[in-house]
Amino acid sequence: MSPENYLHLAALLFTIGACGVLVRRNAIVVFMCVELMLNAGNLALVAFSRMHGNLDGQIMAFFVMVVAAAEVVVGLAIIVMLYRSRHSASVDDASLMKL
Protein backbone atom coordinates (compact mmCIF):
# COMPACT_ATOMS: atom_id res chain seq x y z
CA MET A 1 0.00 0.00 0.00
CA SER A 2 1.44 3.33 -1.00
CA PRO A 3 0.98 6.73 0.66
CA GLU A 4 -1.19 7.66 -2.29
CA ASN A 5 -4.10 5.72 -0.80
CA TYR A 6 -4.19 7.99 2.23
CA LEU A 7 -3.90 11.06 0.02
CA HIS A 8 -6.72 9.86 -2.20
CA LEU A 9 -8.92 9.26 0.83
CA ALA A 10 -8.09 12.74 2.11
CA ALA A 11 -8.93 14.25 -1.28
CA LEU A 12 -12.23 12.39 -1.37
CA LEU A 13 -13.24 13.51 2.11
CA PHE A 14 -12.21 17.07 1.30
CA THR A 15 -14.36 17.04 -1.82
CA ILE A 16 -17.35 15.65 0.06
CA GLY A 17 -16.94 18.37 2.67
CA ALA A 18 -16.71 21.07 0.01
CA CYS A 19 -19.88 19.79 -1.67
CA GLY A 20 -21.62 19.87 1.71
CA VAL A 21 -20.60 23.48 2.28
CA LEU A 22 -22.04 24.38 -1.12
CA VAL A 23 -25.27 22.42 -0.78
CA ARG A 24 -26.42 22.54 2.83
CA ARG A 25 -28.33 25.51 4.20
CA ASN A 26 -28.34 24.75 7.91
CA ALA A 27 -25.45 26.78 9.29
CA ILE A 28 -24.48 24.06 11.78
CA VAL A 29 -24.28 21.41 9.08
CA VAL A 30 -22.21 23.77 6.93
CA PHE A 31 -19.89 24.10 9.89
CA MET A 32 -19.65 20.34 10.27
CA CYS A 33 -18.72 20.05 6.60
CA VAL A 34 -15.93 22.58 7.16
CA GLU A 35 -14.73 20.37 10.02
CA LEU A 36 -14.75 17.39 7.66
CA MET A 37 -12.55 19.32 5.23
CA LEU A 38 -10.11 20.26 8.00
CA ASN A 39 -9.94 16.63 9.10
CA ALA A 40 -9.21 15.52 5.54
CA GLY A 41 -6.37 18.04 5.45
CA ASN A 42 -5.06 16.65 8.73
CA LEU A 43 -5.05 13.11 7.35
CA ALA A 44 -2.94 14.28 4.39
CA LEU A 45 -0.54 16.08 6.75
CA VAL A 46 -0.11 12.98 8.91
CA ALA A 47 0.52 10.86 5.82
CA PHE A 48 3.09 13.41 4.59
CA SER A 49 4.78 13.28 7.98
CA ARG A 50 5.24 9.54 7.67
CA MET A 51 6.32 9.81 4.03
CA HIS A 52 9.12 12.22 4.84
CA GLY A 53 10.08 10.67 8.13
CA ASN A 54 9.88 13.80 10.26
CA LEU A 55 7.33 15.17 12.66
CA ASP A 56 6.72 18.59 11.10
CA GLY A 57 3.57 17.35 9.37
CA GLN A 58 2.17 16.20 12.69
CA ILE A 59 2.95 19.61 14.22
CA MET A 60 1.02 21.22 11.36
CA ALA A 61 -1.92 18.89 11.96
CA PHE A 62 -1.76 19.78 15.65
CA PHE A 63 -1.98 23.49 14.86
CA VAL A 64 -4.84 22.87 12.46
CA MET A 65 -6.70 21.12 15.28
CA VAL A 66 -6.12 24.01 17.68
CA VAL A 67 -7.24 26.60 15.14
CA ALA A 68 -10.28 24.46 14.26
CA ALA A 69 -11.24 24.30 17.93
CA ALA A 70 -11.03 28.10 18.23
CA GLU A 71 -13.00 28.48 15.00
CA VAL A 72 -15.73 26.14 16.22
CA VAL A 73 -16.08 28.04 19.48
CA VAL A 74 -16.48 31.43 17.80
CA GLY A 75 -18.58 30.07 14.92
CA LEU A 76 -21.04 28.29 17.18
CA ALA A 77 -21.32 31.40 19.34
CA ILE A 78 -22.21 33.39 16.22
CA ILE A 79 -24.78 30.75 15.20
CA VAL A 80 -26.37 30.81 18.65
CA MET A 81 -26.54 34.61 18.48
CA LEU A 82 -28.06 34.53 14.99
CA TYR A 83 -30.58 31.98 16.14
CA ARG A 84 -31.55 34.16 19.08
CA SER A 85 -32.21 37.17 16.90
CA ARG A 86 -33.74 35.43 13.86
CA HIS A 87 -35.06 32.12 15.25
CA SER A 88 -33.53 30.22 12.34
CA ALA A 89 -30.19 28.59 11.71
CA SER A 90 -30.54 28.73 7.94
CA VAL A 91 -27.81 30.52 6.05
CA ASP A 92 -30.42 31.86 3.62
CA ASP A 93 -32.07 33.92 6.33
CA ALA A 94 -28.87 35.63 7.39
CA SER A 95 -28.56 38.07 4.53
CA LEU A 96 -27.47 41.06 6.58
CA MET A 97 -24.53 41.53 8.88
CA LYS A 98 -26.70 43.82 10.96
CA LEU A 99 -29.03 42.26 13.46
Binding site: T15, G20, I28, R50, E71, A89
Partner: protein, 319 residues
Amino acid sequence: MSTLTALAAETTTSGGEAAQFWILAPIAVAGGLGTVLMRRAVHSALCLAGTMIILALFYLANGAYFLGVVQIVVYTGAVMMLFLFVLMLVGVSAADSLKETLKGQRLLAAACGLGLGILLIAGIGQASVGSFTGLAEANANGNVQGLASLLFTRYVVAFEVTGVLLTIAAVGATLLTHRERIERNKSQREQAEERVRSGEQLPPLPAPGVYARHNAVDIPGLLPDGRPSDLSVNPTLRERGQVREVHEQALADLAAIERRTAEYQGRAVTVTPPRRAGDAAPADTTTGAGDERAHDAERAERDNGRDNGPDAAGEEARR
Protein backbone atom coordinates in the same frame (compact mmCIF):
# COMPACT_ATOMS: atom_id res chain seq x y z
CA MET B 1 6.24 1.88 22.76
CA SER B 2 9.21 0.29 21.07
CA THR B 3 7.00 -2.23 19.32
CA LEU B 4 4.65 0.54 18.26
CA THR B 5 7.47 2.65 16.89
CA ALA B 6 8.87 -0.38 15.15
CA LEU B 7 5.48 -0.95 13.59
CA ALA B 8 5.21 2.55 12.20
CA ALA B 9 8.86 2.58 11.31
CA GLU B 10 8.39 0.14 8.51
CA THR B 11 8.85 1.79 5.19
CA THR B 12 6.69 -0.79 3.50
CA THR B 13 3.22 -1.15 4.88
CA SER B 14 2.09 -4.46 6.26
CA GLY B 15 -0.81 -6.45 4.92
CA GLY B 16 -2.66 -5.72 8.15
CA GLU B 17 -2.50 -2.02 7.51
CA ALA B 18 -3.78 -2.47 3.97
CA ALA B 19 -6.68 -4.54 5.28
CA GLN B 20 -7.39 -1.89 7.91
CA PHE B 21 -7.33 0.83 5.26
CA TRP B 22 -9.63 -0.95 2.85
CA ILE B 23 -12.12 -1.79 5.58
CA LEU B 24 -12.15 1.59 7.32
CA ALA B 25 -11.78 3.95 4.36
CA PRO B 26 -15.19 3.08 2.85
CA ILE B 27 -16.78 3.58 6.27
CA ALA B 28 -15.08 6.97 6.57
CA VAL B 29 -16.32 7.98 3.12
CA ALA B 30 -19.82 6.73 3.98
CA GLY B 31 -19.70 8.82 7.15
CA GLY B 32 -18.67 11.88 5.15
CA LEU B 33 -21.47 11.30 2.65
CA GLY B 34 -23.89 10.84 5.54
CA THR B 35 -22.79 14.17 6.99
CA VAL B 36 -23.69 15.89 3.74
CA LEU B 37 -26.81 13.94 2.81
CA MET B 38 -28.64 13.34 6.09
CA ARG B 39 -31.62 15.65 6.45
CA ARG B 40 -31.51 15.98 10.21
CA ALA B 41 -28.55 17.81 11.66
CA VAL B 42 -28.19 15.37 14.56
CA HIS B 43 -27.72 12.47 12.14
CA SER B 44 -25.11 14.52 10.28
CA ALA B 45 -23.27 15.15 13.53
CA LEU B 46 -23.22 11.46 14.44
CA CYS B 47 -21.97 10.50 10.96
CA LEU B 48 -19.20 13.07 11.28
CA ALA B 49 -18.25 11.74 14.71
CA GLY B 50 -17.90 8.27 13.21
CA THR B 51 -15.68 9.58 10.41
CA MET B 52 -13.51 11.37 12.95
CA ILE B 53 -13.02 8.24 15.02
CA ILE B 54 -11.93 6.34 11.91
CA LEU B 55 -9.53 9.14 11.02
CA ALA B 56 -8.09 8.81 14.54
CA LEU B 57 -7.42 5.13 13.79
CA PHE B 58 -5.64 6.17 10.59
CA TYR B 59 -3.48 8.62 12.55
CA LEU B 60 -2.53 5.81 14.93
CA ALA B 61 -1.69 3.56 11.98
CA ASN B 62 0.52 6.31 10.57
CA GLY B 63 2.54 6.59 13.75
CA ALA B 64 0.91 9.81 14.97
CA TYR B 65 -0.04 8.43 18.38
CA PHE B 66 -0.43 11.79 20.08
CA LEU B 67 -2.62 13.16 17.30
CA GLY B 68 -4.73 10.01 17.25
CA VAL B 69 -5.58 10.38 20.92
CA VAL B 70 -6.07 14.14 20.59
CA GLN B 71 -8.40 13.53 17.67
CA ILE B 72 -10.62 11.30 19.80
CA VAL B 73 -10.46 13.42 22.94
CA VAL B 74 -10.68 16.89 21.40
CA TYR B 75 -12.58 16.35 18.17
CA THR B 76 -15.06 13.59 18.85
CA GLY B 77 -15.14 14.27 22.57
CA ALA B 78 -15.26 18.04 22.80
CA VAL B 79 -15.93 19.64 19.43
CA MET B 80 -18.65 17.24 18.29
CA MET B 81 -20.37 17.39 21.67
CA LEU B 82 -20.26 21.19 21.42
CA PHE B 83 -21.97 20.82 18.05
CA LEU B 84 -24.62 18.60 19.63
CA PHE B 85 -25.17 21.09 22.46
CA VAL B 86 -25.74 23.88 19.98
CA LEU B 87 -28.04 21.63 17.94
CA MET B 88 -30.12 21.02 21.05
CA LEU B 89 -30.22 24.77 21.71
CA VAL B 90 -31.24 25.58 18.16
CA GLY B 91 -33.90 22.89 17.96
CA VAL B 92 -33.22 19.31 17.21
CA SER B 93 -36.30 18.61 15.15
CA ALA B 94 -35.56 21.23 12.54
CA ALA B 95 -34.84 19.28 9.38
CA ASP B 96 -33.63 21.02 6.27
CA SER B 97 -36.32 21.45 3.69
CA LEU B 98 -35.52 19.65 0.48
CA LYS B 99 -36.73 22.53 -1.66
CA GLU B 100 -33.98 24.24 -3.59
CA THR B 101 -33.98 27.98 -3.02
CA LEU B 102 -31.48 28.65 -5.80
CA LYS B 103 -32.29 27.04 -9.09
CA GLY B 104 -29.80 24.38 -10.12
CA GLN B 105 -27.69 24.88 -6.99
CA ARG B 106 -27.30 21.18 -6.24
CA LEU B 107 -26.38 20.30 -9.78
CA LEU B 108 -23.78 23.05 -9.94
CA ALA B 109 -22.44 22.12 -6.52
CA ALA B 110 -22.09 18.49 -7.57
CA ALA B 111 -20.31 19.59 -10.76
CA CYS B 112 -17.96 21.82 -8.74
CA GLY B 113 -17.29 18.98 -6.32
CA LEU B 114 -16.56 16.58 -9.14
CA GLY B 115 -14.19 19.11 -10.71
CA LEU B 116 -12.40 19.70 -7.42
CA GLY B 117 -12.10 15.97 -6.81
CA ILE B 118 -10.66 15.36 -10.28
CA LEU B 119 -8.23 18.24 -9.79
CA LEU B 120 -7.04 16.92 -6.43
CA ILE B 121 -6.68 13.32 -7.60
CA ALA B 122 -4.86 14.44 -10.74
CA GLY B 123 -2.55 16.59 -8.61
CA ILE B 124 -1.73 13.64 -6.38
CA GLY B 125 -1.14 11.52 -9.48
CA GLN B 126 1.27 14.12 -10.87
CA ALA B 127 3.34 14.28 -7.70
CA SER B 128 6.05 11.70 -7.23
CA VAL B 129 4.71 10.35 -3.99
CA GLY B 130 7.14 7.47 -3.67
CA SER B 131 6.95 5.39 -0.52
CA PHE B 132 6.96 5.89 3.23
CA THR B 133 10.26 6.85 4.83
CA GLY B 134 8.82 5.80 8.15
CA LEU B 135 8.96 7.53 11.48
CA ALA B 136 11.47 5.24 13.19
CA GLU B 137 14.06 7.96 13.58
CA ALA B 138 11.64 10.72 14.48
CA ASN B 139 9.74 8.58 16.96
CA ALA B 140 12.88 7.08 18.48
CA ASN B 141 12.40 8.84 21.82
CA GLY B 142 8.66 8.49 21.65
CA ASN B 143 6.12 10.36 19.56
CA VAL B 144 5.04 12.80 22.27
CA GLN B 145 8.61 13.67 23.19
CA GLY B 146 9.48 14.24 19.55
CA LEU B 147 6.49 16.52 19.05
CA ALA B 148 7.25 18.42 22.24
CA SER B 149 10.85 19.06 21.33
CA LEU B 150 9.79 20.46 17.97
CA LEU B 151 6.89 22.44 19.42
CA PHE B 152 8.99 24.19 22.05
CA THR B 153 11.98 24.94 19.84
CA ARG B 154 11.25 25.53 16.18
CA TYR B 155 7.54 26.23 16.50
CA VAL B 156 7.53 28.03 19.81
CA VAL B 157 6.33 31.34 18.34
CA ALA B 158 3.46 29.65 16.55
CA PHE B 159 2.65 27.84 19.78
CA GLU B 160 2.48 31.11 21.73
CA VAL B 161 0.35 32.72 19.04
CA THR B 162 -2.07 29.76 19.18
CA GLY B 163 -2.36 30.28 22.90
CA VAL B 164 -3.31 33.92 22.31
CA LEU B 165 -5.76 32.79 19.62
CA LEU B 166 -7.47 30.38 22.00
CA THR B 167 -7.75 33.06 24.68
CA ILE B 168 -9.26 35.48 22.17
CA ALA B 169 -11.68 32.80 20.99
CA ALA B 170 -12.82 32.08 24.53
CA VAL B 171 -13.31 35.77 25.30
CA GLY B 172 -15.05 36.33 21.97
CA ALA B 173 -17.46 33.45 22.47
CA THR B 174 -18.39 34.71 25.94
CA LEU B 175 -18.84 38.21 24.58
CA LEU B 176 -20.97 37.09 21.66
CA THR B 177 -23.34 34.89 23.62
CA HIS B 178 -23.56 37.15 26.65
CA ARG B 179 -26.64 39.33 26.87
CA GLU B 180 -26.82 42.26 29.18
CA ARG B 181 -30.18 42.63 30.89
CA ILE B 182 -31.26 46.20 30.27
CA GLU B 183 -34.73 46.27 31.76
CA ARG B 184 -35.78 45.46 35.30
CA ASN B 185 -37.03 41.98 36.17
CA LYS B 186 -40.83 41.83 36.26
CA SER B 187 -42.38 40.98 39.58
CA GLN B 188 -44.79 38.09 39.88
CA ARG B 189 -47.73 40.46 40.30
CA GLU B 190 -46.83 42.38 37.15
CA GLN B 191 -46.51 39.13 35.22
CA ALA B 192 -49.94 37.99 36.42
CA GLU B 193 -51.55 41.31 35.52
CA GLU B 194 -49.94 41.22 32.11
CA ARG B 195 -51.24 37.74 31.49
CA VAL B 196 -54.80 38.70 32.43
CA ARG B 197 -54.65 41.82 30.29
CA SER B 198 -53.36 40.00 27.25
CA GLY B 199 -56.37 37.70 27.32
CA GLU B 200 -54.53 34.45 26.81
CA GLN B 201 -55.51 31.15 28.41
CA LEU B 202 -55.61 31.75 32.15
CA PRO B 203 -56.73 28.44 33.68
CA PRO B 204 -54.75 25.27 33.06
CA LEU B 205 -54.93 23.87 29.55
CA PRO B 206 -57.58 21.20 28.94
CA ALA B 207 -56.45 17.65 29.56
CA PRO B 208 -55.84 15.35 26.62
CA GLY B 209 -57.62 12.07 26.13
CA VAL B 210 -61.19 10.99 25.68
CA TYR B 211 -62.23 9.70 29.04
CA ALA B 212 -63.53 6.17 29.38
CA ARG B 213 -61.89 5.27 26.12
CA HIS B 214 -58.36 6.70 25.89
CA ASN B 215 -56.32 8.88 28.14
CA ALA B 216 -53.16 8.98 26.05
CA VAL B 217 -51.45 12.36 25.64
CA ASP B 218 -51.52 12.16 21.85
CA ILE B 219 -55.31 12.06 21.65
CA PRO B 220 -57.00 15.43 21.82
CA GLY B 221 -59.69 15.94 24.43
CA LEU B 222 -63.22 16.63 23.20
CA LEU B 223 -64.95 19.93 23.67
CA PRO B 224 -68.59 19.94 24.86
CA ASP B 225 -69.81 20.09 21.29
CA GLY B 226 -67.72 17.10 20.31
CA ARG B 227 -64.94 18.84 18.46
CA PRO B 228 -61.38 17.82 19.36
CA SER B 229 -59.59 20.55 21.32
CA ASP B 230 -56.27 21.63 19.84
CA LEU B 231 -55.16 23.10 23.15
CA SER B 232 -55.24 19.75 24.88
CA VAL B 233 -52.38 18.23 22.88
CA ASN B 234 -48.76 19.23 23.25
CA PRO B 235 -47.79 21.54 20.36
CA THR B 236 -44.59 19.55 19.83
CA LEU B 237 -46.60 16.41 19.09
CA ARG B 238 -48.84 18.40 16.77
CA GLU B 239 -45.81 19.77 14.94
CA ARG B 240 -44.35 16.31 14.50
CA GLY B 241 -47.67 15.02 13.19
CA GLN B 242 -47.90 12.46 15.99
CA VAL B 243 -51.35 13.48 17.19
CA ARG B 244 -53.78 10.62 16.96
CA GLU B 245 -57.10 11.67 15.59
CA VAL B 246 -60.16 10.96 17.64
CA HIS B 247 -62.03 8.35 15.74
CA GLU B 248 -65.21 9.42 13.98
CA GLN B 249 -67.04 6.69 15.79
CA ALA B 250 -66.08 8.13 19.15
CA LEU B 251 -67.39 11.51 18.08
CA ALA B 252 -70.60 9.95 16.84
CA ASP B 253 -71.00 8.00 20.08
CA LEU B 254 -70.54 11.16 22.06
CA ALA B 255 -73.14 12.97 20.00
CA ALA B 256 -75.55 10.06 20.41
CA ILE B 257 -75.08 10.01 24.18
CA GLU B 258 -75.64 13.74 24.40
CA ARG B 259 -78.77 13.45 22.35
CA ARG B 260 -80.12 10.59 24.42
CA THR B 261 -79.44 12.47 27.63
CA ALA B 262 -81.15 15.54 26.29
CA GLU B 263 -84.17 13.55 25.20
CA TYR B 264 -84.35 11.70 28.50
CA GLN B 265 -84.35 14.95 30.40
CA GLY B 266 -86.90 16.42 28.04
CA ARG B 267 -84.65 19.26 26.95
CA ALA B 268 -84.57 20.51 23.43
CA VAL B 269 -81.84 18.78 21.48
CA THR B 270 -79.15 21.42 21.18
CA VAL B 271 -76.21 19.18 20.48
CA THR B 272 -74.55 20.25 17.28
CA PRO B 273 -73.53 17.30 15.19
CA PRO B 274 -69.82 16.64 15.38
CA ARG B 275 -67.67 17.87 12.54
CA ARG B 276 -66.89 14.57 10.93
CA ALA B 277 -69.70 12.47 12.31
CA GLY B 278 -71.19 11.77 8.91
CA ASP B 279 -74.24 9.55 9.05
CA ALA B 280 -72.97 7.37 11.86
CA ALA B 281 -75.02 9.09 14.55
CA PRO B 282 -78.18 7.07 15.12
CA ALA B 283 -81.22 9.23 14.49
CA ASP B 284 -83.80 7.29 16.39
CA THR B 285 -83.15 6.33 19.98
CA THR B 286 -86.52 5.16 21.16
CA THR B 287 -86.39 1.62 19.90
CA GLY B 288 -83.51 -0.72 20.46
CA ALA B 289 -81.28 1.95 21.87
CA GLY B 290 -79.34 -0.57 23.92
CA ASP B 291 -78.69 -2.74 20.89
CA GLU B 292 -77.62 0.21 18.87
CA ARG B 293 -75.22 1.30 21.56
CA ALA B 294 -73.66 -2.12 21.96
CA HIS B 295 -73.31 -2.34 18.23
CA ASP B 296 -71.66 1.07 18.07
CA ALA B 297 -69.24 0.24 20.84
CA GLU B 298 -68.32 -3.00 19.13
CA ARG B 299 -67.70 -1.24 15.86
CA ALA B 300 -65.59 1.43 17.55
CA GLU B 301 -63.58 -1.26 19.29
CA ARG B 302 -62.92 -2.98 15.98
CA ASP B 303 -61.93 0.27 14.31
CA ASN B 304 -59.57 1.10 17.12
CA GLY B 305 -57.94 -2.26 16.79
CA ARG B 306 -57.43 -1.58 13.11
CA ASP B 307 -56.05 1.86 13.86
CA ASN B 308 -53.37 0.49 16.12
CA GLY B 309 -51.42 -0.86 13.18
CA PRO B 310 -50.32 2.36 11.50
CA ASP B 311 -50.10 4.14 14.83
CA ALA B 312 -47.46 1.81 16.19
CA ALA B 313 -44.77 4.38 15.46
CA GLY B 314 -46.64 7.02 17.42
CA GLU B 315 -47.05 4.72 20.33
CA GLU B 316 -43.41 3.85 20.31
CA ALA B 317 -42.50 7.52 20.34
CA ARG B 318 -44.78 8.01 23.30
CA ARG B 319 -42.97 5.32 25.21
